[in-house]
């Protein structure tokens, strides 16, 4: 059913899917998952709330409260599915778009906004959440995740790392080096590529001429393509990959086949480079609608539940907005903070000089 969506490349030979766009559960020989109604409701709640936070952030940007926002619209299932597969001990390395994963890791959404509002470059403690800071330089975090996984190996710990990156990122040298290192050291790392079909204005065929999940085979580890709009499948596939990584079976590449429903960021104008029909096609595969349909059909939730979630989402949106506006601007002298951990004479001198300079204005 998603054959048409495989831009340019051949039909996806084995898209792992557990829930159709129409909300039908389907079986897959290698991947299955047994979810309690409670768990399904939890996933639905996650999906809905992160979409709401995302919408609020877009609005905040439109109103000038954020300098920029990179929307996850359309990619909720890929992020919630994979994010909920992680154990507390696992470590996640995001790009700049993993707001859904951040949610799963317990990062307060307001903390995501700091970077986009320009009050900091990253506002949470990675160790507290086992969720690394957002990385903007495309692909560079993949090596960090592999190094981290090599550390897990050395600690003999029961954990894995997972690293997120886009379809465009697969062209960077760093990402391919990360594949090599992970493979050579058999590191417990899962490569989670959200193929949202676009790298800003460039369609997938500018990065590869075969399906991305097959890249892994050239490096000697398995790659799979999962329906990135199917939260059940994303959860099942990632859970298995992480379990294998933790048990010493090495790395795995997961290509979550999905679609960037919005602009690349709020600065972008996708009408310049892509046709509306494409978007319409993908709307039919919405990651949230299918869960909702499934839940209705299987009486996992009633209208009251959905209403309650919507209300919670609205409340969350309001709360995020309020606290975003309250985010304090940093003090000018903060420019010199945290550049070095240990005392550094140049920083001290420049800070002092700048303080004197600023005092000159107050006088």
């Amino acid at each position: 059913m998603t054959a048409d969506a495989s831009r340019g490349a051949e039909a996806p030979p084995e898209l792992i899917q557990l829930l159709t766009p129409e909300g039908e559960r389907v079986e897959h020989p290698d991947y299955d998952i047994d979810l309690t109604p409670e768990e399904v409701r939890g996933l639905y709640r996650d999906l809905t709330l992160v979409r709401r936070v995302d919408l609020e952030a877009v609005a905040l940007q439109r109103q000038g409260e954020l300098g920029l926002w990179a929307s996850l619209l359309g990619q909720e299932a890929a992020q919630i599915g994979s994010g909920r597969a992680l154990t507390e001990a696992d470590m996640a390395f995001p790009t700049y778009r993993e707001h859904g994963v951040a949610w799963c890791r317990g990062v307060d959404p307001v903390n995501l906004l700091g970077l986009f509002r320009g009050v900091n470059h990253g506002g949470w403690d990675p160790a507290e959440h086992n969720f690394h800071l957002y990385t903007i330089v495309i692909g560079s975090q993949t090596l960090h995740a592999v190094g981290y996984a090599m550390g897990i190996q050395r600690d003999g710990a029961e954990a894995a790392s997972i690293v997120y990156f886009g379809d465009g990122a697969t062209s960077q040298g760093d990402v391919n080096e990360a594949f090599i290192w992970a493979s050579v050291f058999n590191a417990p790392v899962v490569f989670f590529c959200q193929n949202n079909q676009w790298a800003i204005s460039e369609p997938l065929e500018k990065q590869t001429r075969i399906p991305l999940y097959r890249r892994a085979s050239g490096f000697g580890f398995p790659g799979v393509r999962v329906d990135g709009n199917d939260v059940f499948a994303c959860l099942a596939v990632t859970r298995k990959a992480l379990a294998e990584a933790r048990s010493g079976q090495g790395p795995m590449l997961i290509e979550a086949f999905t679609y960037r429903m919005g602009a690349h960021t709020t600065s972008d104008d996708p009408t310049r480079y892509r046709v509306a029909a494409e978007l319409e096609g993908w709307k039919l595969k919405d990651p949230i609608e299918r869960v909702r349909a499934y839940m209705f059909k299987n009486q996992i939730a009633d209208q009251d539940f959905f209403d309650a979630i919507d209300a919670e989402a609205d409340e969350l949106g309001r709360d995020v907005r309020k606290r975003c506006l309250a985010l304090p601007d940093p003090e000018p002298l903060a420019i010199f903070d945290h550049v070095y951990v240990e005392p550094h004479s140049l920083m001290d001198a420049e800070r002092a000089e700048f303080a004197t300079y600023l005092e000159g204005f107050e006088a």
Binding site: G67, L115, I136, V137, G173, I200, S201, Q207, Y273, G360
Partner: protein, 325 residues
């Protein structure tokens, strides 16, 4: 005469170069249909086709490395690095290959490659989108490094860079992309692009700047008038080579020199200027060459950038200091 923004002047300059020479190619991320994130290559793919305006894979090392190969085959690639902070994956190709290959070949190979880098801050952007990495390249022998500051120069200098037989790193001050000026697009009677320009004459001190800071210095010079100070402003335009004679001529006359850039001061390009000007004008200097630049820290979050970036006040403060010596 046509009124053009800097972005459009660069666009027209590239268009002209592509019309004049079918070997000129444009390549980079999103330079095609999108016309680049700043629209500097807008419309070029439509008019010159995908063979000449190439949307590349997302890999800066690949952009420069394949541009070198294309140049070896006789092409003249104009590469766009999407933002200043993303040039570093290409550092190896630029520093060990692009800069050194002509020498390696004892002059048998030429690499007329232009590396366009939108640079600098002041646009409220996130990390890596506001940097000024010029010093990494001025220190790299084999490269020419230039920076344009206005539409007139933008139109001319991009064409000069494309025609140059040496590799050129070409800085474009992104916060000036939307500034306008009258450009004579039919003339090609241009100042050589390795010459500085005195953009305002003065007698009491010389302000040296390039790229985004030229405008800031002009404003400072104007503001200084009220204090009865006559400041000369020199737009360096070329950072490697530096137009030493024009610079020293000015400083000898004024006796004071302040160099202004956005990049961190520590070992920034201002250091080279200060060292060189001092050596050449030792007995003419009433005060040491002063440097105004970013703090020696990474570029801060954008809510702090007004404090980070040199502005009118910071320049005038340095002028005061120079006079107080």
């Amino acid at each position: 005469m046509t009124i053009l923004t800097l972005a459009k002047a660069l666009n027209e300059g590239m268009r002209k170069a592509m019309e004049d020479d079918s070997k000129v190619l444009v390549m980079g991320e999103d330079v095609g249909k999108l016309g680049g994130v700043f629209r500097v290559t807008d419309g070029l793919q439509k008019d010159f086709g995908e063979q000449r305006v190439i949307d590349t894979p997302l890999a800066e090392s690949g952009i420069i490395g394949t541009a070198i190969g294309l140049a070896l085959r006789g092409y003249r690639p104009v590469c766009e690095i999407q933002f200043d902070g993303f040039v570093f994956p290409a550092a190896d190709q630029i520093i060990t290959q692009l800069a050194k290959m002509p020498l390696r070949s004892l002059g048998k190979l030429r690499l007329p490659v232009v590396v366009r880098i939108p640079c600098g801050g002041g646009i409220g952007a996130v990390e890596h989108h506001s940097e000024s990495p010029e010093a990494y390249f001025t220190h790299t022998a084999g490269l020419r490094v230039v920076a344009c500051s206005n539409p007139v120069d933008g139109y001319a200098m991009i064409q000069q860079a494309i025609r140059c037989e040496d590799p050129v790193v070409f800085f474009e001050p992104k916060r000036r992309y939307w500034e306008k000026a009258e450009v004579d697009v039919d003339s090609s009677d241009w100042t050589p692009f390795d010459e500085a320009k005195v953009v305002r004459q003065g007698t009491d001190a010389t302000l040296l700047a390039y790229g985004p800071m030229v405008k800031t210095c002009l404003e400072a010079a104007k503001a200084s008038e009220d204090d009865g100070r006559s400041l000369e402003v020199v737009d360096l335009r070329s950072l490697n080579p530096l137009d030493v004679s024009k610079v020293t001529e000015s400083v000898r006359r004024t006796g004071r020199c302040i160099v202004v850039h956005e990049a961190p001061v520590y070992n920034g390009f201002g250091a080279e200027i200060a060292a060189r000007v001092t050596e050449e004008c030792f007995y003419n200097l009433q005060s040491p060459v002063l440097r105004v630049g970013g703090p020696s820290t990474p570029y801060p979050p954008s809510r702090l950038e007004d404090h980070y970036l040199p502005d009118l006040d910071r320049v005038l403060h340095a002028v005061d200091r120079a006079f107080a010596f």
